[in-house]
Symmetry: C2
């Protein structure tokens, strides 16, 4: 089945006449146009409603869709739907604004299609896997350049700036997300924003980054011990390293559920009494969005099957002290998993 056939099968199942998405990742997925607009799918037909700003750019990309100039956004969409005798719309409520929902509800019956497209996008095609692999390789090569710059006295922001620069220089369209560089106590905040703080002797150093290629993202986190370290810090690091490794190696395609991977990481940390510091889920899908399905968390019954791509990234954070996170993006294959853009464990002395 084509992507369009897959989504419309589900739209049919809930008795809707069409699928509408305001999510630009959906537009890229179903039409190959990387821009802003409203996506409409009716049976086998795909349409993009584009404003004047993006119209020419979309046409130039030769998308798999009819492009309609929409001078008044959602109002233009409405007029088209009324003309074409559409009565009900399948909508992803998470990627639709309340404003657009309220506007459309006045004229159409709304059917809940939340996560429909994300559930299709959860299984990657070969071309998508190739793009994610390229993104991971670019990120890895860029990091190799930055690795040699890490030393006591360089600041978080300097490393961030250099890494972002190197990723674009190596061929990334852009960074996949706002690069995190945290050192010392800042590593205790999972989503720290880089500051002018300089790397000090004895710091943990956490770098979370990814590249974006053809719209597809990679995602990876290294944590280093810089300079002198205590046995306590070493043990703390090792516990997390084991948890990440064992969670990954635990995956048996077509047999493991997402929640079991999460539990495996948590169980390992519990052996050291560190599970209470593991305050997020073990991972998330990666693709056109940096966070997509499957969520690797304790409540997710999803079976792990070939061609899923997701992160394994347990992390432990002691408030006021430090934190460690190690993250790899993996591709599920027939019998095992492949680590994308892997660089071996490294220490900074």
């Amino acid at each position: 089945m084509t992507r369009i056939e897959k989504i419309f099968k589900r739209v049919n199942e809930i008795g809707a006449d069409c699928f509408v998405s305001f999510d630009n990742s959906d537009m890229l997925y179903f039409t190959q146009a990387d821009s802003e607009g409203i996506l409409l799918i009716i049976e086998q037909k795909t349409f993009i409603f584009a404003n004047k700003l993006s119209y020419d750019s979309i046409i130039n990309q030769k998308p798999h869709a009819e492009v309609i100039q929409a001078l008044h956004g959602v109002k233009s969409l409405q007029e088209y739907l009324i003309e074409n005798k559409i009565h009900s719309i399948a909508l992803d409520l998470k990627s639709t604004s309340a404003f657009n929902l309220e506007t459309l509800r006045k004229n159409f019956e709304i059917k809940d299609a939340t996560d429909f497209s994300k559930q299709i996008r959860i299984i990657k095609e070969q071309s998508e896997i190739n793009s994610i692999k390229r993104a991971a390789l670019i990120a890895r090569n860029a990091f190799t350049k930055v690795y040699s710059m890490i030393k006591i006295g360089i600041s978080e922001k300097e490393l961030q700036g250099e890494l972002d620069y190197q990723m674009v220089k190596h061929g990334a369209q852009k960074s996949a997300f706002e690069t995190i560089v945290a050192s010392g106590v800042n590593t205790s905040f999972p989503h720290h924003k880089p500051t002018d703080k300089k790397i000090e002797d004895g710091d943990f150093l956490m770098i979370d980054f990814g590249a974006c290629v053809d719209g597809y993202n990679s995602d990876c986190t290294y944590t280093f011990l810089v300079g002198k370290r205590t046995d306590e810090e070493r043990d703390f690091y090792n516990a997390l390293f084991y948890a990440q490794t064992f969670a990954r190696e635990f995956i048996a395609p077509n047999r493991t559920k997402a929640k079991d991977i999460d539990k495996r990481a948590r169980d390992e940390l519990a052996k050291y009494g560190l599970d209470k510091y593991f305050i997020h889920s073990t991972g998330h899908g990666v693709g056109l969005d940096i966070h997509e399905l499957p969520n690797i968390d304790l409540s997710n019954d999803t079976l792990i099957v070939p061609n899923m791509v997701f992160t394994i990234e347990p992390g432990i954070y002691i408030p006021g002290k430090y934190g460690v996170r190690i993250e790899q993006t993996i591709l599920v294959k027939e019998n095992d998993v492949e680590i994308l853009g892997y660089a071996p464990f490294m220490e900074i002395i």
Copy 2:
């Protein structure tokens, strides 16, 4: 009035018990916390509902709010509101997802508070103006470095990478948005994404960029004529240059309406028969969001008053050929306007 008093006055006027926002710019504005969470305001009291991931980081920022650990996101918020006998919620429908609206609607009456906070944020305080000025200065200084690199043979992406790098190096938290570098025919797409295309002799070169400092953004576009140029290109450029200059100089604080600025730019271009190529509005507010109020467009009756900050950025785009946009961010003062981060008109020979 404080920011909180201003928003609650409007919430009171529509008869709601509280204000809820899922917009992280609102959270930063009302609490000073730069993170992710749900903002709740009840009378003079401000709350942030934070998940485990962002909780410590928010606490560490000592926000002007009580921080509540919300393990289940909007569900945790709901429980709190029910316990505190809240019946009606004022919601900005544009920054709320349809999913959250539908969830909250089950237990509460929803009152439409769309743009309430944006209408308060439209008038900048001195500390906000200082941050935007710093952002504009950083962007300008970074650009000075990049300007000297512009030459025939350098690619759009090389210039983008260097400019982003220099902005962070000069003290930006990050780029304000995805930097646009377009050359040749690519300048005919207003929101072109940089490619490996090299700058050629005779190209137009368009660079649209900004820095982010303390969460506040700057926004600026230069268009250059690189190398040899025809009279037609020169006239095309000049027409736009006049339109931008005259639209800006037309502004009389407390007297001009937003729509009149837009009309002034359009009227100037019409003299040259070029108004049909001006396919977007003349500008937009700039602050914590890169696009906020006021919109400088033909339908906006908003009076321009001191301490508004917005862009003046007419642009003309001939499909398949080329385009020109010149953009400045300006601060409205008592009697005139101040250009933020201005660098003089420059040509590349």
